[in-house]
Symmetry: C2
Subunit: 403 residues, 2 copies
């Protein structure tokens, strides 16, 4: 058994070179570290001869944050590797291939996606991805259904739920998404320009905090499916022809709507941010229309595919009852919208911001975008139980924008 | 490490005699087997000299049922022992004391409650228990709160949830409570006299099955607290001055309302059965009034104590938000009422009946009681989301009785 140590570039090369079936013997390999080093080391190892490459991703035993850090379980590498394997069972084309996992070293060797770009960056640049809604809808429907009580025998599901018990990473979400943004917490990261608005608009709003408390309670208690747990636009890599979901280290058994909501929130954050990136009004409004269309298509793809899976593969007898699925789906929609609201707010007030908004250079536009994100987030949370279609999201966005 | 073997009476005596601190050396011990032997061996071991006695309970590796049996994990003895220990942390006076647990032998040595009687038998005899509502309300409030996300740090809760993963016993509930009664299943146990009514009233009712499917989904997915899992009137031992909750082998992380609902259902089953036991109309109606009062007091005791615990000991920051607890409590009420309906129906149609009804000698009265139980059960399930007070249960009972 190997002892854990954080790899140097040279160690990463040697490790990848020694794996059977990855590189040929005698290939000359080079490496670069491409991660930000906050949670993980990420090396790209490339053969100078064949041009083949792989990613070596190693978890670090701490989170590096502004002003310090805190220890964090290496077990998340096991979770990530196992979650990628579960996804590969139902949609191998939508996740990177895992070549090797080493538990002691907390290290995954996987497919290099350097021909892809991070979806968030593509959206900031105003790119359109025709496959995106269908691919992400497929990813969510298949991974969530296949790990749910609709499909799995309950005993198999309970075993998986134990395997994916992920208390340390859940705790990060519990604190940074569902708690700290609603109080003047040290971990918050608030632009001074909007601090008075945040104090008035979030911290004084008891009704909002109550609804967030209920959503947090759902996150804490409802083990519906193996969720990705961090499904934002930075966890998706794209080309025109391919979509790959990466980084499921936050995976755990939670509410299905948590994944759907994370993706909706990040598309809407990009929508809000476009005021700072597409300075031509027509161009901005056309791209925003594309984003709202993507929000709607994403949901419809998810819903359609989940419905098909339910109709053809549900094993849970009672869930086959006529009309059950419609209620089940509406509950996921309402959860998704509520979680989307929480995810929008945390990206403005909480520790981790999004580049979409933080990269806006005009300060007034940036502040307006932040306020708009908070307003939309709040509306989604407060109104979620009245939603019976995804189209109502666009209506909320437009109404809030016009207010 | 000892190898599992089902104990003989003599082995049970020797085992109890050898435990330090239970009996004095040299005491002459005798034993009787007092269990029904369907799931467990239960021996009472008594010292002829001192009169002291203990219970030795050993899990059997199968369930014995009419016409055969099926294997069942011995792990349930660990679950039972650990659940009794958890309860003893918060209400030691309301559970039997555990003296010893042996995992290999699946065996618990615990306090003998032979001065108590089973609550179900007391209720069939028309006895009243002044402490009952308060004691059971206390038991439920304390055990559920202490294992919930309101009180526990989320990481400690998740560990407990793994420790109490109980797939085999949950499966029994999933099948026998939430599935088989709603179809013409082999495990059902239906008096021929009500079979046509069952086919018409349950099996043809899609709206009812849909609601049961949603309650089953809650049972499968919602890990709110460590529930007893089988909290009927046969799992409670009483004297005028003492209440003890026993047999938590079905314990797992589930919805709080599942325990509350089980107790409500069994009180209401006794209510329905009184037509066959108190043949004097005034006496019957007075006892029924006592039972409905107990239903209401039980809820109020539970709610009051849960509210106090929440106000004084909640660690979950967001759950402290004004108004959160009222919604949380209303959700538990509505769940409890829905689960109560399921529990009533399964005791008429499903494998395991209750003595309250099965012991009615007059066939016409018994059949009428069974139909009334099904009608009340259905009303509770279908109307649960309109309930905002426990008093509405009495209204449903009286309305259904009069219909």
């Amino acid at each position: 058994m190997e002892q854990y140590r954080a790899f140097s570039t040279q160690e990463a090369i040697e490790y990848a070179g020694s794996l059977p079936g990855v590189f040929d013997a005698g290939e000359t390999l080079s490496a670069e570290e491409i991660g930000d080093g906050n949670l993980n080391l990420v090396f790209r190892i490339r053969s100078d001869g064949s041009g083949r490459s792989v990613i070596v991703k190693q978890a670090l035993p701490y989170v590096r944050v502004v002003g310090g850090g805190w220890p964090l379980s290496l077990d998340r590498a096991r979770i990530e590797s196992a979650a990628l394997a579960k996804a590969a069972e139902v949609c191998p084309e939508l996740v990177p291939q895992v070549y090797s996992f080493n538990q002691e070293l907390a290290l995954i060797v996987m497919e290099d996606l350097s021909d892809h770009i991070v979806l968030r960056k593509g959206l900031i640049q105003g790119k359109r991805y025709e496959r995106l809604a269908e691919d992400l809808g497929t990813y969510m429907a298949r991974t969530l259904f296949a790990t749910s009580d609709l499909y799995l025998e309950p005993q198999a599901k309970k075993q998986l739920q134990v395997e994916f018990c992920n208390p340390e990473l859940c705790k990060i979400t519990e604190d940074l998404v569902f708690t700290h943004p609603y109080m003047d917490a040290e971990t918050n990261n608030i632009d001074e320009a909007i601090r008075p608005f945040v104090a008035r608009f979030l911290w004084s709003d008891t009704a909002l905090k109550r609804e967030v408390a209920l959503l947090k309670h759902a996150f804490l208690t409802r083990g519906e499916a193996l969720v990705h747990g961090d499904l934002h636009t930075g966890s998706v890599m794209v080309t025109a022809a391919s979509t790959k979901v990466i980084d499921p280290e936050f995976a755990y058994y939670g509410p299905m709507g948590f994944d759907v909501g994370a993706m909706l929130a990040n598309l809407l954050l990009n929508y809000v941010a476009q005021a700072g990136h597409r300075r031509d009004a027509d161009e901005c409004s056309a791209y925003r229309a594309y984003l709202l269309e993507t929000v709607e298509q994403l949901w419809h793809q998810f819903a359609t595919q989940l419905r098909l899976l339910h109709a053809s593969q549900t094993s849970e007898e009672m869930a086959k009852t006529e009309g059950f699925f419609e209620i089940y789906l509406r509950n996921i929609l309402q959860d998704s919208i509520g979680f989307a609201g929480c995810k929008m707010i945390r990206r403005i007030v909480g520790l981790a911001h999004v580049e979409d908004i933080d990269s806006i250079s005009d300060k007034a536009i940036k502040t307006a975008a932040q306020e708009l994100a908070l307003r939309i987030g709040r509306e989604l949370i407060m109104e979620r139980q009245r939603f019976d279609s995804i189209e109502a999201v666009s209506a909320v966005v437009k109404r809030t924008e016009g207010a």
